[in-house]
């Protein structure tokens, strides 16, 4: 049975996550944020619960990473400032939405190349095994990545060398506008991993189920059984990114999934199992909103570094940069 405080924290982060994403979208429309903005709205259960459950290891994820970063412990202020391109951002404004790196939280972004981070996760898992550390690695990727070469190479190597790697497939069925079943022989991507390793399936919109599953998977890889593949079915309400009007999905389909809204379900759990009243929930919502507002103020008021840092961090040692 899960601890009440963890469940509340998960709920709070999910609400915060959604508020954050809406605030990001709003400010994108207002021109404060530019480039690509990939929103996680609708997938909060997976993002938050997986991060809270996988508390002992390295995380490699995709560009749809804001909520995961926050759930991992990175300050929403720093994330929003990064989106605003400010020097107080997670990556000092050098990376943007898709490149949030924080080694102190064992969080390595944020890769704009679909599937590109999977070989990196494999390598990191090798390093952890080499160092005989208890730490494993979680690699989260979408259904889109599971058709690429890097995916198959990673399954192969991780299982050949029995690496402590948790493959977490966020199957929201769409890779931009392409439904997975049009470009893969089946819907369930874990079938591809079956010849290589143990696979698990979970309802990505059930935060508690995600939490339990990831805990179990983490324990599995920590015990040295080799890699494991967890597939979480979920759905994003927004387009692939803010510039995508998502005309490839029917309104009906979106409605079906909104009925399974993860935040709704968590709220019910708190109400029915833990006797949370409306005012308790409102208090949590309010607190979440406050943190988001705080983050916005911080981002707006933070300084923006100029051209003077253009050549910073090209190299760590001698900066042999010729302009």
């Amino acid at each position: 049975m899960m601890d009440k405080s963890i469940i509340e924290e998960i709920y709070m982060l999910m609400v915060l996550g959604r508020q954050f994403e809406y605030a990001a979208k709003e400010h994108y429309m207002a021109g404060d944020i530019s480039g690509f903005l990939h929103l996680d709205i609708g997938q909060e259960a997976l993002s938050v619960a997986a991060m809270k459950a996988f508390d002992h290891g390295d995380v490699f994820t995709t560009y749809r990473e804001h909520v995961m970063a926050i759930a991992r412990g990175i300050e929403p202020k720093a994330v929003m400032a990064e989106l605003f391109g400010k020097s107080t951002g997670v990556s000092k404004g050098q990376g943007g939405s898709m490149h949030l790196f924080d080694p102190s939280h064992f969080f390595y972004g944020g890769d704009a190349i679909v599937g590109g981070h999977l070989p990196n996760a494999v390598g990191c898992a090798y390093a952890r095994k080499f160092q005989e550390s208890e730490q494993g690695v979680l690699a989260l990727f979408g259904d889109g990545a599971s058709n690429g070469g890097a995916f198959f190479e990673s399954l192969n190597i991780a299982s050949a060398w029995k690496l402590p790697l948790l493959f977490l497939c966020e199957n929201n069925q769409y890779a931009i506008g392409t439904k997975i079943t049009r470009v893969a022989p089946f819907l369930e991507q874990r079938k591809k991993a079956e010849p290589y390793m143990r696979t698990m399936e979970v309802d990505g919109n059930d935060a508690l189920a995600v939490y339990e599953t990831i805990r179990e998977a983490q324990s599995y890889i920590q015990k040295g059984h080799g890699p494991i593949f967890v597939e979480a079915m979920t759905y994003r309400y927004e387009g692939h990114s803010v510039s995508d009007p998502a005309t490839y999905r029917s309104a009906e389909e979106v409605e079906i999934w909104k009925h399974k809204d993860p935040i709704e379900r968590m709220r019910k759990v708190l109400q029915e199992r833990f006797d949370y009243g409306t005012s308790d929930l409102e208090a949590i919502n309010k607190k979440a909103q406050e943190r988001v507002d705080e983050a916005l103020v911080f981002a707006k008021e933070s300084p923006e570094a100029g051209v003077e840092i253009l050549y910073d961090h090209v190299f760590k040692e001698v900066n042999h940069v010729v302009s």
Partner: protein
């Protein structure tokens, strides 16, 4: 409190948008995220959402109307955060896929073209044309011409400079204009650049000579291989652990027997040769791991002409008859005069003699030549004595042995029998 929704910036280039349709009306309740309108930008039709929950208070733009980005288009009264109950809609069924008719597959027909032999190379000449107009010169040449005050373009037109001109052309022209051939030759000998001379006047070799005297410019002479050899030899000699023995020989008998044919040098060679045969260690050279004791005495003698010093070797001179020794010495003297001594003829000695007595030098010490174990420096005669200074390599000959050798020399020099037997 009202929450205002503005015309959004849907793309970088958008400046105004058209309201296509409202999805809500005044009085409707909206949840965070609900779509309230469709708006057309310069690129596409996009949905506009309310980011806050509340009740629609006002819609300030009509369908079909335009507004600039940032204009308020709706107002939402933000009320309580209680969720609105949703009407449960029917879960629609997914539509089945439409069957496609199979078509006949035709083989792909691709024409095989003949090989293109005309390469589409750019004809450089056609494109570049004649770039070598008058005035064309390399940047360095132009700089040099400017320095010398030379008009490249004019000179090229007058065919006095090539097209294009390089620094060597500029320099040649400048030099031929302002320096005589002899002057250039002198400059080359003394390794001087024409740049040292003020521009604008002509210089003859006399001018150059004056300049050289005035500035005390040395004449650089490249080292010949012989000079380099000598340098190597004497440097090596200086490294050897040597010591000296200073003594002299009685000159009476030497003077008595020396004549036009059998000179002093002849007798000295004989003397030393005999002494060397009696002292094995003076027939010894030092190899890398061993001493080499030679059965014969091989003596080299320093001989000089006006420009160089040679050390020809009298190989196994102890075995030479008087005649042979005389011939050898005569031949060497001739060779040295002509500067024609072969390097083979200067190898194979164990000891050497150097005589500066004829120059009036009283005493000096010589440097060991090559691999020899020592050298004897002969001085001028003074009060019946000829000075002999031995320089000996202490690795081969110790002081006692050196002294013994010296004794032998002195004895032989005063032994009439030695001179008689040698005749």
């Amino acid at each position: 409190m009202a929450y205002e929704i503005v015309m959004p910036q849907l793309s970088d280039s958008m400046e105004e948008g058209t309201l296509v349709s409202w999805k809500v009306k005044v009085g409707d309740s909206v949840k965070q995220g609900d779509v309230i309108a469709e708006v057309e930008s310069d690129k596409a039709i996009m949905e506009v959402q309310s980011f806050k929950a509340g009740k629609v208070e006002a819609l300030t733009l009509s369908e079909g109307e335009n507004a600039a980005v940032g204009t308020v288009i709706a107002r939402i009264a933000v009320g309580d955060l209680s969720e609105v109950n949703r009407e449960k809609k029917e879960t629609p069924v997914e539509k089945p896929m439409v069957q496609q008719k199979k078509a006949e597959v035709q083989p792909v027909k691709r024409e095989v073209l003949p090989i293109q032999k005309e390469y589409s190379h750019v004809d450089e000449k056609a494109v570049m044309g004649d770039t070598m107009v008058s005035g064309t010169a390399s940047p360095k040449a132009k700089a040099l011409a400017a320095k010398y005050g030379i008009d490249i373009e004019k000179l090229q037109e007058d065919k006095k400079l090539p097209k294009p001109a390089h620094t060597i052309d500029i320099r040649r022209f400048y030099e031929s204009r302002y320096f005589t051939q002899k002057a250039l030759k002198a400059l080359s000998e003394y390794d001087l650049s024409t740049d040292f001379f003020e521009k604008g006047r002509k210089y003859s070799d006399a001018d150059i000579v004056n300049y050289i005297k005035k500035h005390n410019i040395p004449l650089p002479e490249k080292l010949s291989s012989m000079q380099k050899n000598i340098m190597t030899t004497v440097t090596a000699a200086a490294q050897k652990p040597v010591y000296h023995i200073y003594d002299s020989l009685d000159s009476r008998l030497l003077n008595a027997y020396a004549d036009e044919k059998y000179t002093l040098t002849f007798w000295l060679i004989k003397l030393f040769s005999e002494a060397i045969m009696q002292h094995e260690v003076f027939r010894t050279t030092l190899g890398s791991n061993s001493m080499q004791v030679w059965p014969n005495a091989s003596l080299s003698v320093a001989m000089a002409n006006k420009s160089a010093l040679y050390m020809p070797v009298f190989k196994a001179c102890d075995t030479m008859s008087i005649e042979t020794l005389y011939e050898t010495l005569k031949n060497f003297k001739a060779s040295v005069k002509e500067g024609r001594v072969l390097s083979e003829e200067m190898k194979g000695s164990t000891f050497a003699i150097s005589n500066l007595g004829m120059m009036g030098i009283e005493r000096f010490d010589a440097m060991i030549n090559g691999n020899d174990c020592g050298i004897a420096a002969i001085g001028a005669e003074k009060e019946g004595k000829i000075s002999v200074t031995l320089t000996l390599d202490h690795r081969i000959i110790n002081g006692w042995q050196g002294a013994a050798f010296m004794q032998t020399l002195k004895t032989l020099a005063e032994d009439p029998l030695f001179f008689k037997d040698s005749e």
